[in-house]
Symmetry: C2
Subunit: 322 residues, 2 copies
Amino acid sequence: MNKSIDFERAWAALSKMDDILILTHLSPDGDAVGSMFALYLALKQLGKNVRCIIKDIPRSLKFAEVPEAFAEFNEKYVVTVDVGDKKLLGSELNALYGERVDLNIDHHGTNVMFAKETLVVPEASAACEVLFDLFDFGGINITKDIANRLYVGIATDTGCFRYLNTTSKTLRTAARLLDSGAESGRINNDLFETKSPQYVAFEKAAVNSLSFYFGGKCAVMLITQKMYDEAGIVEADTQGINGLPRMIEGVIAGVTVKERSGGVFHASVRTRDPINAADICSVFGGGGHKYAAGCELGTDSEAAVIKIVSAVEENLKAAGLL
Amino acid sequence: MNKSIDFERAWAALSKMDDILILTHLSPDGDAVGSMFALYLALKQLGKNVRCIIKDIPRSLKFAEVPEAFAEFNEKYVVTVDVGDKKLLGSELNALYGERVDLNIDHHGTNVMFAKETLVVPEASAACEVLFDLFDFGGINITKDIANRLYVGIATDTGCFRYLNTTSKTLRTAARLLDSGAESGRINNDLFETKSPQYVAFEKAAVNSLSFYFGGKCAVMLITQKMYDEAGIVEADTQGINGLPRMIEGVIAGVTVKERSGGVFHASVRTRDPINAADICSVFGGGGHKYAAGCELGTDSEAAVIKIVSAVEENLKAAGLL
């Protein structure tokens, strides 16, 4: 199946399932956590048997967890949310479930269509925006608990309505979630308006690691495990840092290279027009969106930086900017 | 007149005016600039003779200016936007026009009702949200140029939809502005996603000036003219810094004390529940909103900090937090 199914078919598929396992991508962000537990609650509303597997939920997103979602049973169906490629499930879950995903609900234009059926809406700001429409279609009652989780996903993936993926439909969806009781004030405060002293220390080190290329058109931040340790913070609690390099005036491609726990370096690439982040990351088997994408770059930090800077250079040249 | 008039009366008042001067508050932010020029364009649409007086527009808001709005003529009527108190016009404009403001359109709950007639909607996130409803009432065509300016005001005063003043109505208003052509992507980028190298240098100095009181419940940043000079930046381009002290985990009252060009120190106070920023600032004749307010504290920096910290202490004690 290499084409998205429509809402009707996705809803029909979900409706006939029971004993469902929900998975999302590694290093879960607000959209991964929010869409997982919003879908869990919606399926419970339909009386289904559902469970979730997820690890490394950031501290600021812990509130979105549903504790009873972790009770184990033998699943008959597997549904994934916010997953553009089964590799992003992580090697362990990919080995166990990668070949047997019945339905994937996503918003990545680079989705590789690995599931038996895929509902992917690239115009949606977040998987949670897709889920909202799907719930609307299926007549799910948007409770406060569901609204909170869908709001978290949309707010995270739009940088709280700052990024270019925010459409008038995104804003109207958020308005409906507020009307359904989403505690946007508290959630925005926790996600966007609060920095721990550990984060402040980490951020200083991250800013000091910035290096610039191509007359300031590319900025690269290099984050090592040592920096996490010294600041007393874990990677999961530092996702906000990825937006920083692109914020500096003149930067068209902002890159954050992070050493993950296994020693592999991962790049998060954020771009401005006309540079496409997903194009840059696809060279290394990664993917994402036009202005935000990611990829893995091996275990050597220097080589990782050289690789990604070269890919940025190619794209700047192709766009006539170098 | 110590009660807000309604939209019908405000529209009737505007409709009968001609040769109109529009003013806004000193140190204009996005809502001041946006509401001034949105109203200018709406009144021009009605064929009226209109002019504006404003100075020190931040660099990031220059695009919202309308050059032809500065042509001089003898005004018959004076309208103010986003002004809670005529003192905030600045001494010069207050002396010239403070006593003859025909209509004030505002959203500050602390509005002192200085104008002949006042349309104030404290539930509105921004003066621009009030104007949107007024234009809707009056049948103004929300052109792209008007939509851009109203969007700037709402985005600024809500921290791009992060702050507690963001309601579902605010989000729906923003959605309608996007549908009317507001270039939210570009505007958000310029206002929230771009830092100049000068700002990055200024921000480092500002963070280093932080001091904490009452077990970290109060954080104070002290900004001097020297810090602006050393970073090569002007105050108007540093308004984003005001949100920083409250962002630190545990801070309930975040204060930014800034030396203004005349040597007077001004405090911007941001709070979290249950502390009311307007209450703190009212002690010094200032005002604003529940979570964001301002006041002047004299020409001595040390005394300024002691004064505002004492007022914070009072409020923390009254709330049982000390």
